[in-house]
Amino acid sequence: MGELSSFDRLTLQHLNAAYNLALWLVRSESDAEDIVQESYMRAFRGFHGFSGTDAKPWVLAIVRNTAYRWLSNRRRSANVISLDEAFGGPGEESVESQIASEDPTPEAQLIGEVDRGLVRSALVELPPIFREVIILREIEGLAYREISQVTGAPLGTVMSRLARGRRELRKTLSRMMDKDKPHAV
């Protein structure tokens, strides 16, 4: 029972982080619950392979992989491709280049403070590979090195995904705020 208790001590303190990441990726509370459960079972089975001291990136990496598998199964069974779930379909490269190749019009700046409800909607509009790095950075406060551990992407890719994600977010927010306050400008 020693293995189980040390697993409990090291990993269950990150349960809220795990649930939150799953929820941001699959956008369904019941799915997120299932994903987190499955992830902890997977983590326990692979626990002998964990040698670090900080289990957070390790647990989150398993949650992330489980969530993406979930998304790709859901997409396949629903046979519907939404922007949200496009990841895993045409491949992550094309999603990234698709955004990168958009014309570099000067980005509208944000007028006034950012409303929480708006930022939530704007995050939902982001493709998951950009959404996840922003969540891991702004909510979980992970360092780039840790984000790289969670996503399995090299450090440089983490940096560029964050940069592009933030620019997209800014554009979307600006559009939303314009709509919200048509007379503000």
């Binding site: 409990d8 649930y19 570099p104 944000l110 909510i139 780039y144 933030r166 927010l173």
Partner: protein, 252 residues
């Protein structure tokens, strides 16, 4: 540094993830670029708003659900470990069976070659000695039907004093005695006659050996009767039939 380059790095600059050279370049750029300063403000505002969203906490039952699943998993794992130990996978069982067969085969062969082989070899030697004695002019070195002649003749030639009986009255006249060499030792031989058949009785000392009832064997048409009595091993061999050989053994 141009604005588009700075755009790529400003986020990392704010996150304090840039190393020396890049950090200085970005810092220099934003000092003179109002647009990038606005970008920084927006990134900070947005980041603050996201951070304020916070985590949506996991349902309170999730932790206990996971704990009970883990406990079940751990238990099944423990059971599986025991089962694995008790019932090795097929391949191991097969390998173990094969190894056991090999060992058994080696042991049996060795046993047969050593024990049965020794008896076999002795029988062969005795039959050969018997036949050789018949090929010679005479199977005996001391010719006498008188046991009191034959018995002293053996003295000093073999390491025991053989029982020598003349059995003429019973139809087994004593021809005499000789020395022979079987079983890697010098042995005494008494030679009896039954009608036209010659019987060689080989004798040697077997210290500590228990008395043994006669056992009959047949080899190339010769009957062999082996027994032990009072520390002496006897082998009688002849082309006489088994029943008559047994009779001689009883008389001796």
């Amino acid at each position: 540094m141009r604005c588009d380059q700075a755009y790529e790095l400003i986020g990392a600059y704010l996150d304090e993830e840039l190393s020396g050279g890049d950090r200085t370049s970005v810092a220099d750029h934003i000092e003179f670029c109002a647009g990038c300063r606005v970008l920084i403000r927006d990134i900070k505002r947005t980041g603050k708003a996201i951070a304020e969203l916070g985590r949506k906490p996991a349902p309170p039952t999730l932790a206990s659900q996971i704990r009970s699943l883990l406990a079940k998993e751990e238990q099944e794992h423990a059971v599986k470990r025991v089962v694995c130990w008790r019932m090795p996978p097929n391949i191991w069982r097969q390998a173990a069976a094969l190894a056991a067969c090999c060992l058994l085969s080696v042991a049996l062969t060795w046993g047969v070659m050593t024990s049965r082989g020794a008896v076999d070899q002795l029988q062969q030697e005795i039959v050969a000695a018997h036949i050789r004695s018949l090929l010679q002019d005479s199977p005996i070195q001391v010719a006498s039907s008188d046991s009191h002649t034959v018995k002293p003749w053996f003295a000093g030639k073999v390491d025991f004093a053989p029982e020598v009986n003349d059995l003429t009255a019973a139809g087994f006249p004593l021809l005499g005695g000789r020395l022979d060499y079987v079983h890697q030792r010098r042995v005494g031989v008494l030679v009896y006659r039954r009608r036209l058949h010659t019987v060689n009785v080989f004798m040697w000392r077997a210290p500590g050996a228990d008395d043994a009832a006669p056992t009959l064997a047949n080899r190339n048409g010769h009957n062999l009767l082996a027994w032990a009595k009072s520390g002496i091993t006897y082998w009688a061999v002849s082309d006489l039939d088994a029943a008559e050989l047994r009779r001689l053994q009883r008389l001796l």
